[in-house]
Symmetry: C2
Subunit: 429 residues, 2 copies
């Protein structure tokens, strides 16, 4: 009995704490919406400085997180994303400075027109309000998201991965210390004050305070958020990205794109997971590319036709076609036509980033029209789906949703709009 009661009261405690954080964020958001660009940029610069000023404490907290993760048996790749260093902290500082230098999206007039009755209508960019972000155990994301939300006039409620809790507390404390020295409210940036999973569930029900939830992460997290959230969600889910090497592909270009899309940074969501090859191209291309991939330590899994042409390839199962490996693994399928490639992408892909390699303009246009992904490429690597690479200045992540923001989300995607209507006494007839 006692333990049930304790558990219950601890959940209530978490839920009350999260509610207080979110309510304060809502208050802060009202002030931030009115803040000038100068106020925001000056606060960002102070935040950047304070991050370096508190370097020792942040690195100490991070070392504790890293030790705990190592004792817990986390993988080396996981530890690498978790670990901070002097260099990483300086990169975080520079990112905040860079955000301070970007144009302020708030207040921009997206359109204005006059109606026959004389009403003047303006569509004006305004902040979203309070942005809730749930993300992986990557402490640099804490300061990246905080700076992007502040610049776009939003308050942010952050909930990073459990293993990075101490690091995030130290980073958030530095950013809040900086905010206390400015005209902006400290609650512009806040952290869910517990590493308990109950903290996430408490967040998801606070639709009176939080305006959008951005979950970045694996399928269990995305499923939890999709099922439980009463707040609008912009998912940052998986990327099962394809490169299709067409009948009319220039093969040396295809080779370079395939190797880049798979190997340049395989753990990212815009890396290729499945290679599709037109059956007329396959005999000339497949044995060679498999050899080069294997030389780059990629495990290749293929359909039957692939294995006829490259016997060293392991058989791919049905599950492979929809798997995001995030690793040096690739599935390969020979297709009879561009249509079959498009159908495969639509059936197994995640509508993230997909590319065609071809010199045939009509084929390229058909691919571009028929593949309904956030980013569709002609003769380029899928790895370019990224806010910086697209020229958005920065990104909070890559939306795999269709509403509000699709693909890389920069500052503009962290805003909404309102209509401002000027009249001289107009009445509805």
């Amino acid at each position: 009995m006692t333990s049930i009661v304790n558990r219950q009261s601890s959940i209530e405690n978490v839920s009350e704490q999260v509610q207080r954080v979110a309510a304060e964020a809502k208050q802060a958001a009202r002030q931030l919406a009115k803040a000038s660009s100068d106020q925001k940029n000056s606060a960002l610069r102070t935040m950047a400085q304070e991050l370096l000023a508190q370097r020792a404490g942040i690195l100490k907290a991070n070392a504790d997180d890293v030790h705990a993760a190592q004792r817990g048996g986390s993988s080396e790749a996981f530890i690498d994303r978790l670990r901070l260093s002097d260099q990483r902290l300086e990169e975080m500082e520079q990112s905040i400075q860079a955000v301070a230098g970007l144009p302020d999206p708030v207040g921009a007039v997206l359109g204005s027109w006059r109606r026959p009755n004389g009403l003047e209508i303006r569509k004006v960019r305004v902040p979203l309000g309070v942005v809730g972000i749930i993300y992986e155990s990557r402490p640099n994301v804490t300061s990246d998201c905080a700076s992007l939300c502040l610049k776009s006039g939003n308050a942010v409620v952050l909930r990073g991965g459990t293993e990075s809790f101490r690091s995030n507390q130290a980073i958030a404390a530095a950013l809040q210390a900086a905010l206390r020295a400015t005209a902006l409210p400290e609650a512009a940036v806040s952290l869910i004050p517990t590493a308990d999973r109950a903290g996430i569930e408490a967040m998801l029900s606070l639709n009176q305070f939080i305006d959008v939830i951005i979950p970045r992460g694996g399928e269990p997290l995305i499923r939890l958020v999709t099922e439980r959230s009463t707040i609008p969600v912009i998912k940052h889910a998986k990327g099962v990205c394809h490169v299709y090497v067409d009948r009319a592909a220039e093969l040396p270009m295809a080779r370079r794109i395939v190797l880049n899309a798979k190997c340049q940074r395989p753990a990212t969501c815009n890396a290729m997971e499945t290679l599709l090859i037109h059956e007329e191209t396959a005999p000339r291309f497949l044995p060679d590319i498999v050899e080069q991939l294997q030389a780059a330590r990629v495990e290749v899994r293929g359909c039957e036709r692939t294995r006829e042409l490259a016997p060293s390839v392991k058989p791919a199962t049905e599950e492979d076609w929809s798997t995001e490996y995030l690793d040096l693994i690739l599935s390969v399928k020979v297709v009879r036509s561009l249509e079959e490639a498009v159908t495969h992408i639509s059936r197994y892909g995640s509508a993230h980033s997909d590319a065609i390699v071809t010199q045939d303009e009509a084929a390229a246009e058909r691919f571009v029209r028929d593949v309904d992904s956030a980013a569709v490429y002609v003769n380029a690597s899928t790895r370019f789906t990224d806010g910086f690479q697209f020229g958005l200045g920065a990104e909070i992540g890559i939306s795999t949703d269709r509403l509000h923001a699709r693909g890389p989300m920069g500052l503009e995607e962290l805003t909404t709009y309102k209509y401002v209507v000027y009249g001289t006494g107009q009445l509805r007839q």
Copy 2:
């Protein structure tokens, strides 16, 4: 036992039926996304003709709905929205023709730029996919929504109010008969095949087929959808709209705006529900406007100060301030300042449409900046928040959400975008 088993099997049956409808809509959406403007416009014209061709059957089905609603004791206002007539059917036909005449939003290039590495990026408008709409017992909404979704390249799954089920079936049958005579798929327009509430719940879990749910209606529906939907939602919820008569208001203009915002069509979401009056204006304005409102059969409920100045006014309760009357009822509050008006609107309003009446430009600008509503008016009636009045050509409704679409939703708001990237073999460094 038997009845439980039957109930269970009937729910499974509904859920299977709804799933089949949604899966077919998803297939249809893929075809619609590729349809040309000519194909869509020609289908719309055929749909308009068929609606009139099947006039007798539609009016007969509607008469059955009306009789059932009358026997069920529905209000006269409810019956009026439910009832079709020759004239209303002709208006529905004309609305479809008008949508055929609007510009096609799909394929528009929203932006294009070249990156230093030579990549050419285009942001291109594409349909959302499958749009699920849950709406009131207003049969004209069935053809309005069907035509707007088709024009924007979306398949639509419609679920109108239970009392309008026969009318909607007859209208949808006419629209589908028209589609069978075109190049476009019949499943571009479909109806949830049951008036059972289980049909709504079944819809809300089909996120593999439906891309967005638009609920139009009262709080219980909005709450159900918010809590249950795993599909992104764009709410069309309540409008608790304000007119604030400032210290510097021109009083004859204020009088006309107040009467128009309250009385011109009180059952709409953009009608005023609360009037706020600056305390310096109140003695000169309040007794007179209360008299005119009462002469127009408006029941006025007020704060204490209001009742001192106009003793015929009933006392307003705390609940009144957040109530959407949709009727000839108005709450009135005297405020000490513009700030108090803004605070009241932010606390009790629904961020739909709010107006200031003033000749003071600085006050107008403060109101416009600080009131965070979908539409903020200076010296005009709140009744203009409407897709036609804003010049969007048409509207599917008025979003009270902040993400994706805010305020009137026209054809453009029924689309999303994708990035199309043209390269010459670019690789990520």
